[in-house]
C-alpha cells in the first residue's frame, strides 16, 4: 500500500535522510542552547542597571547577535563556506552544516534568553542579593531556574527553526530530508518523494512542539 502511494520512494534513502536531519538538528540544538544562554546572559547582565553593566561589551554582543540574526540563512551558509572548510574540512555532508546552523540559531536564541531573563522578578533578585548571594549563585539558582519556562519555550521555537534551516542546508549538499526533497523529489520530478519528505519534517516539528509544551507546563509552577 505504501509503495503504491509513494512509487518512487527508496525507503532506505528516506531513513538515512531522516537520520541526517535529526542528527543536524540535535547537535546544533545542543550547541545553540549553551551558546545562546551564554550570550543571552551576557546581554542581560551587561545591560543598564544590571550587575555587570558595561555599555561597551553590551553593544559589541548586541551588534554580533543582531547581524547574525538578520542574515538570511541561505546566504549565511554561503558566507560561512571558507570558515566551514577550516573547521570541518569539507563542505559536504551533515557535519558541514553544523557551523552555519549554530551561528544562525544561537543569536536568535540569545535574544529569547535575554527577554526571558528580563522577566525574572526584580524583587527576587534583590532578595537573593540581600541574603548575600554571589553572582554565580544568582545566575544558577535564581536567574536560570526562574526563567526556565521561557528558556524552554524559546529553545522549542529555535528547534523548529533549526529543522527548517537543515532543509535549506540540505539544498546545497548537507544531506537530510531537505536534500532528498530537492534532489530526488524536485530535480527528478518525483512529487511523491517531496511529499513524503514534507510529511516527515512536519512530524518532526510536531514532536518537538509537543515535547517543548509538555516540559514547559511541567516546570512552570507560577
Amino acid at each position: 500500500m505504501m509503495s503504491e502511494m509513494f512509487p518512487n520512494v527508496i525507503w532506505e534513502n528516506i531513513w538515512i535522510a531522516t537520520r541526517e536531519t535529526l542528527y543536524m538538528t540535535a547537535i546544533s540544538l545542543v550547541a545553540t542552547f549553551f551558546i545562546g544562554i551564554l550570550l543571552g546572559l551576557l546581554l542581560f547582565l551587561t545591560s543598564r542597571g544590571q550587575l555587570w553593566e558595561n555599555k561597551f561589551i553590551n553593544i559589541i554582543i548586541a551588534a554580533f547577535v543582531n547581524i547574525f540574526r538578520s542574515i538570511p540563512f541561505i546566504i549565511l551558509i554561503i558566507l560561512l563556506i571558507p570558515f566551514t572548510r577550516i573547521v570541518v574540512g569539507t563542505m559536504l555532508g551533515a557535519s558541514a552544516a553544523l557551523p552555519a546552523l549554530i551561528i544562525g540559531a544561537a543569536p536568535f536564541y540569545a535574544r529569547m534568553v535575554e527577554i526571558g531573563l528580563r522577566e525574572v522578578d526584580k524583587g527576587v533578585i534583590e532578595a537573593a542579593r540581600s541574603m548575600g548571594a554571589k553572582t554565580s549563585t544568582l545566575i544558577f539558582k535564581v536567574l536560570l531556574p526562574e526563567s526556565m519556562p521561557a528558556l524552554v519555550s524559546g529553545i522549542t521555537v529555535t528547534a523548529i527553526a533549526l529543522v527548517g534551516y537543515t532543509a535549506m542546508a540540505g539544498a546545497i549538499g548537507a544531506g537530510g530530508l531537505g536534500n532528498l526533497a530537492y534532489l530526488e523529489g524536485f530535480q527528478r520530478n518525483n512529487n511523491d518523494v517531496t511529499l513524503l519528505a514534507t510529511i516527515l519534517i512536519l512530524v518532526i516539528v510536531f514532536i518537538i512542539q509537543f515535547i517543548g509544551d509538555a516540559i514547559t507546563s511541567k516546570i512552570d509552577k507560577r
Binding site: 522578578d121 524583587g123 537573593a128 548571594a133 554571589k134 531556574p145
Partner: protein
C-alpha cells in the same frame, strides 16, 4: 546594634539635565539591640532607600551606616555578602522564588551560606514549625495565601540566625487580620530570639502594635523620633499628628463631634487622653461622684502599644460653669491630657 550618622543619599537622574533627588537627608539614628524600631512616612519619603542602606543594597552618598559591627556603607564584595547574612530582609511582595517549594525557598539562604545538606534539612524543618507552616513544606508559593507567603519570607529571613531583621512594608499587601497575625509573629520572634527589627511602613497601626520606638520621615528627613507612647501622647509635627489620628481617631469622630456640638449648645466637649497606668483609673466614676455634673460619654478608644496603653475619650459635661472648670482642673491633676474641643456658650 545599628548606627546611622549623617546619612544622605542623592540620586542623580540620568541624562545631561543633571537633576538630582535627595532621597535621604542627613539622618542620624541609633537603634539598640533587641529593639523594634519603626520608620513611618508616606511613599516617597525616603524610608525605602533608608532601609536598603542598612544591608548595602544602596550605598549612602554621605555619612556612614554601621550594623552589627560592620560598616555596611564601606565594605564590599565578599565581606559585604558575609555581613548580609547577619541582616535579613522581608518584603512587601514576599519575593519568593516561584520555582522552589516552601522547603527549598527557606533552604536557599542556607545554601548561600554553605550549610551542609543534612543540617539544612534539620534547620528548615525547625523554621517551618516556628512560623506555623507545618505540612506545607512541599507546596509552591503559588499555592499559598499572602499571609502564608510572608511566613515563608520570615522563615527564610531567619534561616541564618541573623542579628537584624529588616521589614520593607512587610504587611502592606496583606488584609487586616493577616497583618495582625504576621505582626504577632514578629513580636514573638523579637521576644524569643532577641532579634533587632527595623520596619518601614505607612500604617500607624503597625507602629502602634509592635514598635518600641518610631521615626517619622518626610521628604528624606527624620522629622520626629521617640518612644511610640511619647509620640502618640505629644506628636510635635503636623505629619505625626496625622499618623497618630489614623489610629486614635476614626474618620467618623469628626462628624460625631460636630453633630454633638450642634445638639448640645451648653456645657463643654472635652477630649481626654490617657497614657500608661492612667488609662486604668476609674476617672469618670470619680468625676461624677465629686462634682455635680452631667457626664455624657461620646466615644472612646484604647490602643495598646509595646510600651503601654494609650487611650482617648470624648465626653460632654454639663452643669454650673465654675463646677465645670473645677472638674477640668481635677482631671488635669490625674495625669490625664485634657483638650477642650469647643465652647458654644
Amino acid at each position: 546594634m545599628i548606627t546611622l550618622s549623617n546619612v544622605s543619599k542623592i540620586f542623580r537622574s540620568g541624562g545631561a539635565s543633571g537633576d538630582s533627588i535627595k532621597a535621604v537627608d542627613n539622618v542620624n539614628v541609633t537603634i539598640k539591640e533587641g529593639e523594634i524600631f519603626g520608620v513611618i512616612g508616606y511613599s516617597g519619603a525616603g524610608k525605602s532607600t533608608l532601609i536598603r542602606m542598612l544591608n548595602g543594597l544602596e550605598t549612602p552618598t554621605e555619612g556612614s551606616v554601621t550594623v552589627a559591627g560592620n560598616e555596611v556603607s564601606r565594605i564590599k564584595g565578599a565581606r559585604l555578602r558575609k555581613a548580609r547574612q547577619d541582616i535579613s530582609m522581608i518584603f512587601q511582595h514576599f519575593n519568593l522564588l516561584w520555582s522552589r517549594t516552601v522547603f527549598e525557598n527557606i533552604s536557599f539562604p542556607l545554601e548561600i551560606a554553605g550549610v551542609p545538606a543534612a543540617e539544612r534539612k534539620k534547620r528548615v524543618e525547625e523554621l517551618i514549625k516556628l512560623v506555623g507552616l507545618d505540612g506545607r513544606a512541599n507546596a509552591y508559593p503559588s499555592q499559598l495565601s499572602g499571609g502564608q507567603k510572608q511566613r515563608v519570607g520570615i522563615a527564610r529571613a531567619l534561616a541564618n540566625d541573623p542579628k537584624v531583621l529588616l521589614c520593607d512594608e512587610a504587611t502592606s499587601a496583606l488584609d487586616p487580620q493577616t497583618t495582625d497575625s504576621i505582626l504577632d509573629l514578629l513580636v514573638d520572634i523579637n521576644h524569643r530570639l532577641g532579634l533587632t527589627i527595623v520596619l518601614i511602613t505607612h500604617e500607624m497601626h503597625v507602629i502602634r502594635k509592635i514598635c518600641h520606638r518610631v521615626a517619622v520621615m518626610e521628604s528624606g528627613r527624620v522629622v520626629e523620633m521617640g518612644p511610640v507612647l511619647d509620640v502618640f501622647r505629644n506628636p510635635a509635627e503636623q505629619i505625626t499628628k496625622r499618623f497618630v489620628q489614623q489610629v486614635t481617631e476614626p474618620e467618623e469622630t469628626k462628624e460625631a463631634i460636630e453633630h454633638i456640638l450642634h445638639q448640645y449648645p451648653n456645657g463643654q466637649l472635652i477630649k481626654l487622653s490617657f497614657v500608661g497606668d492612667s488609662a486604668d483609673n476609674p476617672l469618670i466614676t470619680q468625676l461624677i461622684r465629686s462634682f455635680s455634673l452631667e457626664v455624657n460619654i461620646l466615644q472612646g478608644k484604647i490602643s495598646q502599644t509595646q510600651n503601654g496603653s494609650y487611650g482617648t475619650l470624648f465626653i460632654h459635661i454639663n452643669g454650673n460653669a465654675d463646677e465645670i472648670n473645677r472638674a477640668i482642673e481635677f482631671i488635669k491633676g490625674q495625669q490625664v491630657g485634657v483638650e477642650v474641643i469647643s465652647n458654644d456658650e
